[in-house]
């Protein structure tokens, strides 16, 4: 095989800039060959190097007394949760693969995020997903949604980790480019944490798990002059996930880490072998000699760059203490998995890859990686015109509806609000027997940790419409709402991971959304003391007309409960329990589902939000739950107060009798999405204590009415009964997705 020297044109074909090509020649002190240049092209891609985002990501708060690993240092964030345990958690996007083949795209997304968790030694215990699609009535959306949900279900269910929640939104901006973000959280004993590191000259390097095929190497393959027509035909169009293999890999990985013979371990996601060899080596300040002939291959005659860049699923790279090779081989043999030594650790700081006895590539590890030699760019940004335009929205221009019950019904059955059971029931949410919210729902799922009294709470949240209207406020709301959900469930918000889905970063208006998002997120994370433990940036999410999707920075939040029995639930418990609304009454319909979908007004600013008041409200909710003053707690979010009441009523098989409280607009009162409000129900006997406590805490509240038998009554008018509400709420998704 000739490994031809490259030119600037090759570099461009590989997606590298001229300045990057020059820099590579400086680093190597010579002209790179094709294998080497393709290595740089993937390691310096946005996906691996975060070159267009890292300068801003670094501004997010990352430290904290609970943090055991700093963002970006390991495969996933790691938070000390006490009792000698840590929680590893992360969210990641698989948007583009899912747009091509929804089933496999989503399935491999689930596989990838779980490998990030168990490569740290943690056993995953809860998964979430965050999905965005276009218009639900379009065939394409239905095909994508069915495929994505089946892909997530088939992979997660067979893998055997519960999918305990998630979110699902529809908007035409996601018509072409859906968003598929997967979250996983796992638990590890703090003395069994594994690290993505390599050191110790002479230590063997193993590849384990699936064989390597020509998966995910299109960009480089098409740029290669060395590759024939036949070889191009052999390129798989999609990667196929194998959850069975992943389950075996999970068990074998945890077993090998527990054996103590592992120096470091990293899963292979984007950029495969080259990514894990370089990141582990750079972190441990060592090098590696790798013999590509030893890598188990799925397709014959693979070229060096194909083996190095392959993104075949369900693989790990492990560096082991010399002399303990047999233990590793035995563990993987027990689980019927490939396990092959493919190299050794060296002290050169360089990665040398050999094939057929010849050196195919030699590159310094440090220069390939983020934080090492990978480029960092400061992109220009510019406020888009729509931003000021949206702020000019005047609610007085919107006439109040004639039939309020009709609006209530419209919202209950709206695809963005209606029951997600059609999706949720396709996921095994109960395996592991730790999901303590199965029989009594909370704002955030609560997952008990066996062997302790503790539980974690996990929540994915983002309203892209708010973020689009005002990225700074919208992203702060995403953080605040996830925290509010955790607090309303009795937990304490601890840390976040984020998945930042944006359009093209070279578009200054998109980049402005990105910058403002980071600024808003920073403020909110600092306020709630929830550092960012890591995550993922997905750029180039474009819609039909080439415009970007709504900026969608999905927050994956981790919460903690010391005693799972202290969780709070959202369902109304007893008839005649008084119902209160806590938080400020705001005369605000901006950006609400009511305004956007019912009134059809698409330009309005983000809803009312005051970070300080939000924080005080959450503190108060924590206190009244701890003092056992309330029977149910549910936050007011999409669809506003009426929807919050309906959800608590439907969950508890009850009704409610409530009244409008002056002085704000009636539509703002029932359907406005002004932030920082929660609905609680309380026993009559505790009413005065609750009121007194709230007064002391200076939290505004109003008595709305009481829990009733079956009717949803507003201002003495029955809007609907429980059965009608459930009909509307429960059947929307199924009616589109037969």
């Amino acid at each position: 095989m000739k490994n031809e020297l490259t030119t600037l044109q090759t570099a461009r074909d590989l997606g590298l800039l001229e300045e990057e090509y020059n820099r590579i020649q400086e680093i190597l002190g010579r002209v790179p060959n094709f294998t080497e240049l393709s290595i740089f092209s993937v390691m310096w891609s946005e996906h691996c190097s975060y070159k267009n985002s890292i300068a801003w990501l670094k501004k997010l708060p990352r430290g904290g007394e609970r943090m055991l690993a700093e963002a970006g240092e390991e495969n996933a964030g790691l938070v000390d949760i006490g009792d000698g345990l840590a929680c590893s958690f992360k969210i990641e996007s698989h948007n583009h693969p899912s747009a091509i083949e929804p089933y496999q795209g989503a399935a491999t997304g689930v596989g990838g995020i779980n490998r990030d968790i168990f490569t740290m030694g943690a056993r995953p215990i809860a998964q979430l997903n965050s999905l965005r699609f276009g218009d639900l009535s379009s065939e394409r959306t239905q095909w994508l949604l069915k495929g994505v949900v089946k892909g997530i279900g088939d992979y997660g269910n067979a893998f055997g980790i519960p999918t305990v929640g998630g979110e699902l939104y529809f908007d035409t901006c996601y018509q072409v480019n859906p968003l598929v973000n997967a979250f996983s959280a796992g638990i590890v004993e703090t003395d069994k944490i594994a690290s993505a590191i390599s050191y110790g000259v002479g230590n063997p390097v193993f590849i384990v798990g699936s064989a390597t095929g020509k998966d995910g190497i299109h960009g480089a393959a098409f740029a290669s002059k060395d590759i024939g027509e036949d070889s191009l035909k052999d390129l798989p169009a999609v990667q196929v996930g194998d959850p069975f293999q992943e389950k075996l890999l999970l068990e074998a990985t945890l077993e090998v880490i527990a054996s103590g013979c592992v120096i470091g371990i990293q899963d292979m996601g984007a950029a495969g072998i080259i990514c894990s060899t370089s990141e582990m080596s750079a972190k441990g300040e060592h090098g590696m000699d790798i013999w590509l002939d030893e890598v188990p291959l799925r397709q014959p005659d693979m070229l060096p760059f194909e083996i190095l860049l392959s993104e075949s699923q369900e693989r790990m790279l492990i560096v082991v203490h010399k002399g303990r090779e047999q233990e590793v081989l035995d563990i993987f043999a027990k689980w019927d998995l490939n396990c092959a030594q493919i190299g050794v650790v060296t002290d050169t700081g360089k990665l040398r890859f050999y094939q057929h006895g010849a050196l195919a590539a030699e590159v310094p590890a440090h220069d390939l990686v983020l934080g090492g030699g990978a480029p960092v760019y400061h992109r220009e940004y510019r406020e888009p015109a729509y931003y000021q335009q949206f702020k000019k929205f005047d609610p007085a221009s919107v006439a109040q509806p004639r039939d309020y019950a009709e609006v209530g019904k419209f919202l209950l059955r709206h695809p963005n609000i209606a029951s997600r059971a059609w999706v949720a029931e396709q996921y095994d949410s109960m395996i592991g027997t730790n999901t303590v919210t199965t029989n009594t729902p909370s704002d955030a799922p609560v997952v008990r940790i066996k062997g302790t009294s503790k539980a974690i709470l996990v929540k994915a949240d983002c309203n892209g419409r708010y973020v689009h209207a005002d990225p700074e406020i919208g992203s702060a709301i995403a953080v605040a709402e996830s925290a509010r959900n955790i607090v309303c469930s009795g937990g304490q918000a601890v840390a976040i991971t984020n998945c930042l889905n944006f359009g093209n970063p070279y578009n200054p208006e998109v980049y402005w959304q990105f910058v403002k998002t980071i600024q808003g997120m920073k403020k909110a994370c600092e306020k709630f003391n929830t550092p960012v433990t890591g995550g993922n940036v997905s750029f180039y999410n474009q819609s039909d007309d080439g415009g970007a999707v709504f900026p969608t920075p999905v927050i994956g939040m981790l919460g903690l409960l010391d005693h799972y029995e202290n969780k709070m639930t959202l369902d109304f418990k007893n008839e005649n329990d008084p119902i209160y609304l806590l938080g400020e009454l705001t005369n605000d319909i901006s950006c609400s589902e009511y305004l956007y979908s019912y009134c059809g007004i698409k330009s309005s600013p983000a809803p009312y939000f005051d970070l300080e008041k939000e924080f005080q409200l959450q503190q108060a909710v924590t206190q009244i739950i701890a003092q056992r003053l309330v029977q149910s707690v549910h936050d007011v979010s999409d669809g506003g107060l009426f929807i919050a009441l309906a959800e608590s009523a439907m969950a508890g098989n009850k009704g409610f009798e409530v009244r409008t409280v002056d002085p704000i607009r009636k539509d703002a009162f029932w359907f406005g999405e002004g932030q920082s409000r929660v609905v609680v129900s309380v026993k009559e006997a505790q009413q005065s204590t609750l009121e007194e406590t709230l007064r002391t805490l200076k939290i505004p509240f109003v008595l709305l009415g009481k829990v009733s038998h079956q009717d949803f009554t507003v201002d003495t008018k029955v809007w609907m009964n429980l059965k009608e509400a459930k009909q509307l709420y429960d059947n929307t998704l199924a009616s589109y997705l037969k």
């Binding site: 089946k150 279900g153 269910n157 075996l248 689980w335 095994d428 303590v436």
Partner: protein, 230 residues
Amino acid sequence: MKFGITVFPGSNCDEDVFYVFQNILKQDVVKLWHKETSLQGCDFIIVPGGFSYGDYLRSGAIARFSPIMDAVVEHANRGGYVLGICNGFQILTEAGLLPGTLLRNISQKFVCKNAYIKPVSTSALMTASLDSQRCYKIPVAHADGRYYASEDTIKELQDHDQILFQYCDANGQILSESNFNGSLLSIAGVTNRQKNVFGLMPHPERACDEALENTDGRYLLEPLLSLQTV
């Protein structure tokens, strides 16, 4: 009594069953790896749920040929007790220890939710002591749970009191709407003619822990503890 839980590559409810038998029902319990050939002196074998061999080809088809299954079949043929849950039920039908088979759900979709079941057999160990007037809330989680058997087999099941449970609604009514996976006669579980082998699609181990606020599963498992050691 010593309970043994088989573990195949891809089993994933083994840990949950183990936890319930050890920590909640306080029983002597061990795991039996699929490559083993001995049952380690266990009196009662449980084949747990999951996706043995990824459920590729047909659910349970490949696991049925594991070395440990030879020992389980021999144990059952000697009159030893065996319970298969979900994928375990599928494996036992593939192994010929239970009549019938489990087909893809009528919806063609995986379904995970609380199901309600009603005991039928008055002579089987698992159901004899249950209240036939009430229903039990037990979670299901499967894609292949539609019980199917030939007409002759169904008649035999009825003649010999071999139907363990039927799906019903929360009020105990057996309706076509409550038969969510499309099983013949709403069958959720069966036993063999000798009534020493049980198969259930619902997961009783997911309804035993007070932390989960549903302990109906204990009613199904507790009768098994009363057995005398063979």
